[in-house]
């Protein structure tokens, strides 16, 4: 079974974001990067499937971006993927979901993948479009927002998270693509020996120009941080007064005190 896992490297979400010089995305100078959280669920699920299927499974991890994203690929290799594909693109952050999906689909076409795992969305762009668009372009069955996954006799049973905590179960045959949500699994920490061994696994680099022949459909025009909010309500006066005021506010605006 040939499995593809698509991962993205995103900034640590604790970072302070500043617009880049063109004002269309954030500046990546001085940011710390890590693997997109949802993609970690994707990698973990693929590795668990590999543990179920043994050597019958072959895991390729793919990422698009500048050279620094090799770190995310190596993490996936250290977690248990077999080989990595780096689609080299210093300007990946400026591409829209349509183009990113087109690149992945162009790579995956004719490679005989049975199953593709992606994250539900990226933590920085958050479009949630890439996975489904890849499935559409490849003609794969697709389901999203996975919180449960099982595979038996060629059939995937996917538990999906719907609004308000309601769950749904979907069955689909391969070839298929699924997008992974928080709660699907607890991603393993890569062990140190496996991190070191990731150096020895296959890592193929492909220039993005070899795969991309699509124009952007939705170009990001502007990136800006929200206006600074006021500092909330500041109570003043002596402690007794402030306590009175606080109780009044809590009664009026919340359910904490009745």
């Amino acid at each position: 079974m040939k499995i593809l896992i698509c991962v993205k490297q995103v900034p640590d979400m604790e970072s302070r974001f500043k617009p880049d010089n063109a004002g269309v995305w954030f500046s990546d100078t001085d940011l710390a990067f890590r693997m997109n959280e949802y993609d970690e669920y994707a990698v973990e699920q693929a590795v668990q499937l590999r543990e179920q299927l043994g050597d019958a499974a072959d895991l390729t991890v793919l990422s698009i971006g500048p050279d620094r994203i090799v770190e995310a690929l190596k993490k996936a290799l250290a977690m248990g993927c077999d080989r990595a594909v780096h689609i080299q693109d210093p300007a990946a952050a400026l591409k829209d979901p349509w183009q990113i999906a087109a690149i992945i689909a162009a790579f995956a076409k004719d490679k005989g993948f049975d199953l593709i795992f992606t994250g539900l969305q990226s933590q920085d762009r958050g479009s949630a479009q890439v996975g489904v668009t890849v499935a559409e372009r490849l003609g794969f069955a697709c389901t999203t927002t996975l919180v449960g996954f099982a595979f038996a006799d060629g059939v995937i049973t996917a538990k999906r998270e719907l609004e308000g905590g309601v769950k749904g179960v979907v069955k689909l045959r391969t070839p298929a693509l699924v997008t992974c949500q928080l709660g699907l699994n607890v991603p393993r920490y890569p062990t140190l020996p496996n991190i070191m061994k990731s150096k020895k696994k296959e890592l193929v680099t492909i220039p993005v120009a070899d795969l991309l022949h699509e124009e952007a459909l939705a170009v990001t025009a502007r990136f800006y941080p929200p206006a600074k909010k006021g500092g909330g309500i500041v109570l003043e006066g002596d402690v007794g007064d402030m306590a009175e005021k606080l109780i009044a506010i809590l009664k009026e605006k919340t359910n904490v005190l009745r």
Partner: protein, 385 residues
């Protein structure tokens, strides 16, 4: 000059940081106050399974072969969350490294994989005695050859991890007549050996979860094959291995110092007095500036010492410099952090008093900072006059 970490080093740092945040940080205060070792031992096991006990150990013995820079990064991240866990990991790595450096093939196979895998929660490094602290060559514990065994008699003190160590690296006098330091040998003693007695545990100022015990040898008989390295050459081994350990202790200090500064700086941006955040006061700003500047210098000293060790150069002087500076910077950072929290810093409701207590010992163990200065100046003076 290239000051970028490799991808592998970054991933190891990230793994250590995540593990520390998720698994160590939430239990650190409890470990400090309740002296309950359960969570410590459970976390040591998990850290071993991830490969943190043999960062600089060859793969064939279950190590990660990740090098000293990775070791330094990992120690710092672990210590940010829990210094007691960090010192145990540091000593375990040092014990594995001594065995890898001077052990026979059988000794390496017998013990290193068991520490690396977590089968042994720890290994102990038993050098110090009541009469031989800064001057370990003054030790009196003896090993006397008797047929195909050695018989150990004597007492060690301040031995980290002794109650849960699976194996002890023990130094003892094998030639009483030899000049100072020339008659000491190194042995491997398994926990449970008859005559190996774990004595009283010290009640310490900090690093509470890490046990520090007396270890006694009462006609403790070990096979001749327990000798590690050459007969009467053990002191040189101890001195050499402690230099590597110092990179670990300096990195540990750095982690505690960073934790303290991060906590206090965050606090300063929230605490108001005189109608404004205290971070608006220059007095506080200078504590922040000095604290982080010194810790950054410490980080670079540590990475330089680690880099020299990994590239096969001499590194004893640099390791001593890094240990000296990092642990003193860490202590200053902890006290500044405590000051920034005012009275709250002095209470156990906030972690800073624990950081200050935990950091204090880093200026003392694995060679007091006075001894580091002795080593550094000796190395420098060699080149003059």
């Amino acid at each position: 000059m290239f000051l970028e970490l490799t991808e592998e080093q970054k991933l190891i740092q990230e793994t250590a940081r995540e593990f520390a945040r998720v698994e160590l940080e939430p239990v650190a205060a409890q470990l400090d106050q309740e002296h309950d070792r359960g969570p410590l031992l459970a976390n040591l096991k998990k850290l071993a399974e991830l490969g943190f006990m043999g960062l600089n150990i060859r793969e064939e013995f279950g190590g990660a072969e990740a090098g000293t820079i990775a070791f330094s990064l990992a120690m710092t991240e672990i210590a940010r969350a829990c210094a007691s866990t960090a010192v145990t990991v540091s000593v375990n790595n040092m014990v594995c490294e001594v065995i890898q450096a001077v052990g026979t093939e059988e000794q390496k196979q017998a013990y290193i994989p068991r520490i690396c895998s977590g089968e042994f929660a720890a290994g102990s490094f038993a050098l110090t005695e009541t009469g031989a602290g800064s001057d370990p060559s003054g030790m009196t514990t003896q090993a006397v050859a008797d047929g195909d065994s050695y018989v150990l008699n004597g007492a060690k003190i301040f031995i980290t991890s002794a109650p849960y160590a699976g194996v002890f690296v023990v130094w003892a006098v094998t030639d009483k007549e030899a000049p100072k330091g020339k008659g000491i040998s190194c042995f491997l003693v398994e926990a449970g050996t008859k005559g190996l007695i774990i004595g009283k545990e010290e009640k310490k100022m900090g690093q509470h979860a890490s046990a520090t015990n007396e270890v006694l040898f009462d006609d403790c008989r070990i096979p001749k094959s327990a000798l590690m390295g050459k007969l009467n050459d053990g002191f040189r081994t101890a001195v050499g291995e402690l230099a590597g350990g110092r990179i670990g202790i300096g990195s540990l200090g750095l982690g505690i110092g960073l934790a303290a500064m991060d906590y206090a700086t965050h606090y300063a941006t929230e605490r108001s007095q005189f109608g404004q955040r205290i971070s608006n006061f220059q007095a506080i700003q200078w504590m922040i500036a000095d604290g982080y500047t010194e810790l950054e210098a410490a980080r670079l000293l540590l990475l330089n010492a680690a880099f020299r060790k990994d590239s096969g150069r001499t590194f004893a002087k640099e390791a001593s410099m890094a240990k000296l500076y990092a642990t003193e910077a860490a202590n200053r950072a902890c006290y500044a952090a405590l000051q920034m929290l005012g009275g709250y810093g002095y209470t156990q409701d906030f972690p800073v008093e624990r950081y200050a207590r935990d950091a204090r010992i880093t200026a003392i163990y694995e060679g007091t900072n006075e001894i580091q200065r002795v080593i550094i100046s000796r190395e420098i003076l060699k080149n003059f006059g």
